[in-house]
């Protein structure tokens, strides 16, 4: 049962207006694994996540979560199916406090007791946020905001986490913390993570599987160590 794919993307074609960003992408993510999605700018990585989370409707193909067809559902319904998407540029609601951002994440899932419990969990796991609960989210630094949006996405106890470039614009030390956090989420919570990263090296360090996109197509899908060892592939598509 744990071997079945939790999230399955089958031959998805999607794009913006006249431009096709995904030209038949297939991949699957198992529970308690990290799958890194890699590739150059414009390869379709962000479009892939945006399509999975429902903001772009695929023109062809299917997306299923634990067998349930998500393909034509609204983003809020897909989130309620247990899929949390943390977009690039974070999506912190700066007009709300840190606590309000977190509570918002828990609203659909829990009653008031569950919400307080989820908030306490988040505070325990992220002491940084616990100290800033009443501050406006707009006052947080880049690294703090990244932690906030991940913590917020976790409030509803999702089964699948989509992360779009969590390391963007952050100092290497913070990037390391975030990568280690993602690894812990897989190990301790059994979370299935789909991780889009430009920083292919850090991503492959923690990933179990790697999928390389180029011009909207999958050009490689291997276990992460295999990908990391393939020097030709790395140089050609990943730049290191």
């Amino acid at each position: 049962m744990a071997d079945q794919a939790l999230l399955a993307v089958e031959d998805v074609v999607a794009g913006y207006g006249g431009v096709l960003a995904l030209r038949g992408v297939s991949l699957s993510v198992r529970p308690a694994t990290i799958t890194a999605v890699l590739g150059a700018n414009g390869a379709g990585k962000t479009t892939l996540l945006t399509t999975i989370s429902g903001f772009i409707r695929p023109r062809q193909g299917r997306i299923t979560l634990a067998g349930a067809d998500l393909t034509r559902r609204r983003p809020e319904e897909i989130a309620r199916a247990g899929l949390a998407h943390v977009p690039e540029g974070q999506g912190v609601i700066t007009e709300l406090t840190v606590e309000e951002n977190l509570r918002l994440g828990a609203l659909w899932r829990h009653g008031s007791a569950g919400r307080s419990e989820a908030l306490a969990d988040a505070c325990q796991r992220f002491p940084l946020l616990a100290a800033a609960l009443n501050r406006s989210a707009g006052t947080l630094s880049g690294g703090e905001r990244q932690i906030l949006v991940i913590a917020r996405a976790l409030m509803a106890r999702p089964r699948v986490l989509l992360l779009d470039e969590p390391s963007l614009g952050l100092a290497p030390k913070i990037v390391a913390q975030i990568m280690s956090l993602i690894r812990r989420l897989r190990d301790e919570n059994g979370l299935a993570v789909l991780l889009v990263e430009q920083n292919a090296r850090s991503a492959l360090n923690i990933a179990d599987r790697g999928v390389v996109l180029n011009l909207g197509r999958v050009v490689a899908a291997e276990d992460a160590p295999v990908l990391a060892a393939d020097v030709g592939l790395r140089k050609h598509y990943l730049g290191f």
């Binding site: 999506g91 609601i93 996405a153």
Partner: protein, 292 residues
């Protein structure tokens, strides 16, 4: 001095009505970035419903409650049917729709009730209050009007700040994209926002109709002044809406009292023009930028 006190206090009652309309407009503007030109007409329509209920039951408060309930329902209904299709379209579409709604509601009221001026009862005595020998320029009903709108404004504030529904409303208004990602059913939240705006507008309607009489176009000028109040306060600011309403109500009462009542509409429009020319974002413009 005595006149000054009378004019100041007298302006508060109308000012609170403008504040109520302004609050409804701000609610809808913040949630959907739409200016609801039919807000006054909606209030007129729900006041007619109150009028009918009062006629049948003889009870003012039954009519009052009916108007508020009708406001909730009408707001929700309008958002769900007529506004939803234009929420993500160019702003001009929503302008046309809400103006069309205004014409439709006024026409419908005319058909159902006729165009004649109806008198609408006040909740409390309209006799001027006195402090000793000093005529204060306000009545018990005026005090009720001010308190009712204040209570509604405070109720909204509590709702927004301390309830989950309020959190969803704010999140959807600030960043609908992020809210969707977190499972917030933004559509339903917007319906709630419009329902609340309908409620507050309905309140304004029953509170002001004793003064203006009730007829299909009775809320037109109230709407314009409510809109002016919202612009003065800053379309994004609920506090600004209330303050703007008060400022406008009192200022117009000075104009009416010291300069003559026929100058009031002119001054109202002049105020709107001046604000739009010199400080279009309003007195309480939010300092943080809105995420698109």
């Amino acid at each position: 001095m005595r006149e000054f006190i009378q004019f100041t206090l007298g302006g508060i009652s109308f000012g609170m009505v403008y504040a109520a309309i302004a609050l409804s407009l701000v609610l809808i503007w913040r949630g959907t970035r739409i200016l609801n030109y039919s807000q006054g007409a909606m209030a007129m329509f729900t006041t007619y419903i109150a009028f009918t209920v009062i006629g049948h039951t003889g009870s003012y408060w039954a009519g009052f409650a009916a108007a508020l309930a009708a406001g909730l329902v009408l707001g929700a209904l309008i958002e769900r049917t007529v506004i939803r299709p234009v929420e993500n379209k160019p702003p001009l579409n929503a302008v046309v729709i809400t103006i069309g709604l205004l014409v439709f509601l006024e026409g419908l009221a005319g058909i159902i009730y006729g165009g004649q001026y109806r008198s609408f009862p006040a909740a409390f005595s309209i006799t001027g209050l006195r402090a000793g020998s000093l005529a204060l320029g306000i009545s018990r009903n005026d005090v009720f009007v001010a308190c009712a709108v204040l209570a509604a404004a405070l109720g909204l504030a509590v709702l927004f700040r301390y309830t989950s529904a309020g959190l969803r409303l704010r999140a959807a208004a600030f960043n609908a994209y992020a809210a969707r990602l977190l499972g917030v059913r933004v559509g339903r939240v917007l319906t709630l926002g419009w329902a609340l705006a309908g409620l507050i507008g309905a309140l304004a309607g029953v509170l002001v109709s004793p003064d203006t009489f009730l007829y299909p176009a009775s809320m037109d000028s109230i709407f314009v002044l409510g809109f002016t109040a919202a612009v003065i306060g800053g379309l994004d600011s609920p506090v600004g809406a209330v303050v703007g309403g008060l400022i406008l109500g009192v200022a117009l009462n000075y104009v009416g009292g010291y300069l003559g009542s026929n100058l009031v509409p002119i001054f109202g429009l002049a105020a709107l023009i001046v604000i739009l020319m010199f400080r279009p974002s309003g007195l309480f413009a939010a300092s943080t930028s809105r995420q698109v």
